[in-house]
């Protein structure tokens, strides 16, 4: 949390005059259930990325790589939409490691790297 400012120093009416700063507001602490992805099963179709209401699906080079747990609320939409059932929800209290770790319970190294995003049939 940044240093708190006095009433003379802040914009009136609770207005925020800066774009995109919601990223700095850590809201993942509300979460009860944590999504985890099995990268041995995941086909990188990115439907979870498309539907996540909080933009918490990390994607690199067209591949789903895990979660932004600083903002994920644990809503479970990604689990519901996943066509290959690669995502599971576990109780936060039973999650391994720190709050920002453990997005993948299997690495997916068994599978060959896939080019591009989306599409594809069930591969696991």
């Amino acid at each position: 949390m940044a240093e708190e400012r006095g009433w003379r120093e802040i914009p009136i009416g609770g207005l925020i005059l800066e774009a995109g700063n919601a990223e700095r507001y850590v809201t993942g602490g509300w979460r009860t259930y944590r999504p985890q992805v099995d990268k041995d099963v995941c086909i990188d179709c990115l439907q979870c990325w498309l539907l996540c209401p909080d933009m918490c699906i990390n994607v690199e080079d067209g591949r789903m790589t895990g979660y932004d747990y600083a903002h994920c609320k644990g809503c479970g939409i990604c689990e519901r939409i996943c066509p290959v059932h690669a995502i599971r929800m576990i109780l936060e209290s039973e999650a391994p490691g720190g709050a920002d770790e453990g997005g993948c319970w299997r690495s997916g190294k068994k599978r060959a790297p896939k080019k591009g995003a989306g599409g594809g049939g069930r591969t696991a």
Binding site: I12, G13, G14
Partner: protein, 389 residues
Amino acid sequence: MKRTLALTGNESAAEAMRQINPDVVAAYPITPQTELMHAFTQLVADGAVKTEMILVESEHSAMSACVGAAAAGVRVMTATSANGLALMWEIVYIAASLRLPLVMAVVNRALSGPINIHCDHSDSMGCRDSGWIQLYGENPQEVYDNMLQAVRIAEHPDVLLPVMPTYDGFIISHTLERVDVIGDDEASAFVGEPKPRFSLLDIDRPVTYGPLDLQDYYFEHKKQQAEAMKRAKEVVREVGEEYGARTGRAYGFFDAYRTEDAEQIILCLGSAAGTAKAVADELRDGGRKVGVLKLRMFRPFPAEELARAIGHARSIAVLDRAEGFNGVGGPVCPEVKAALYKAGGADVFNYVYGLGGRDLGPDLIRSVFDDLEAGRADPREAIHLGVRS
């Protein structure tokens, strides 16, 4: 060019709105406000104003649309009465909290129930702590004058708070009186162009309205609102003086009528002041030292100025056109008593009158002055003036 017209209170409010030419008006009809919006929507249909008129499905939607439009950075007005204001409730507070300079005419009407369409102040008094500036008008002339001034007060950079000019339902809204109207060019010059500091539509300077505001900053934003309300006093004074210089009709926080040497004073708001002043004149002719303090601005409350203006009196009757249901009387009297706490020894009595449009005639006003002179009233509890026993 100045004109003299015969207008009802609703028509004079519509005439002011025609000259203000607001960018957006969102409203829902409710008696006795309806004729105001009839007249204004006719102006929109005739192309006499460039206003975007939004006909909504409820007052909650009306105020919501007004908040959205004001956040977009344009000049916004609306009007309502009684239950319509009650339905707006949530958004009334939000408009003030977001510091949006809306102007909403409130045509005072008794709140249900039992259902009633006539005047009392229970509607606007109910939202006295919502963060809106409140100006009570006595007659159609003051309605017109207050509407024009309200725009300037609301949009002043030291204020940026919504303003509620109010006037008594039917007694003022539907009564035809002489109204002096300034020229369209003069009115435009007086209200000026809106200069919004922020706009939701400005993509080069994006702004977020209404984010979550918890223990860390909510209190600071409320402090800002409280300070803005304090600063509004000076702005109301300045705008009232400038309006007076332009029109010959200057306005302040209140109108002190024959109070300077008065021993008994009646304090009231709105149309009751006309009757009270007429009775005061009559009693003055008989040698009695009586006066009337008509409070124009209830929010912010001009406590210090009021104490200076009436603190010398021996006894004061505060007339409330709303019951506070607090066991001690109406909403205005406790604030007057607090203002006078260190001002001297005036006895202050509370009269609740005129609920649901019950008439306040000269005889009742005379009985109040008589009570004050004879020391007959009980200062510990409110007297319900004109109720049958």
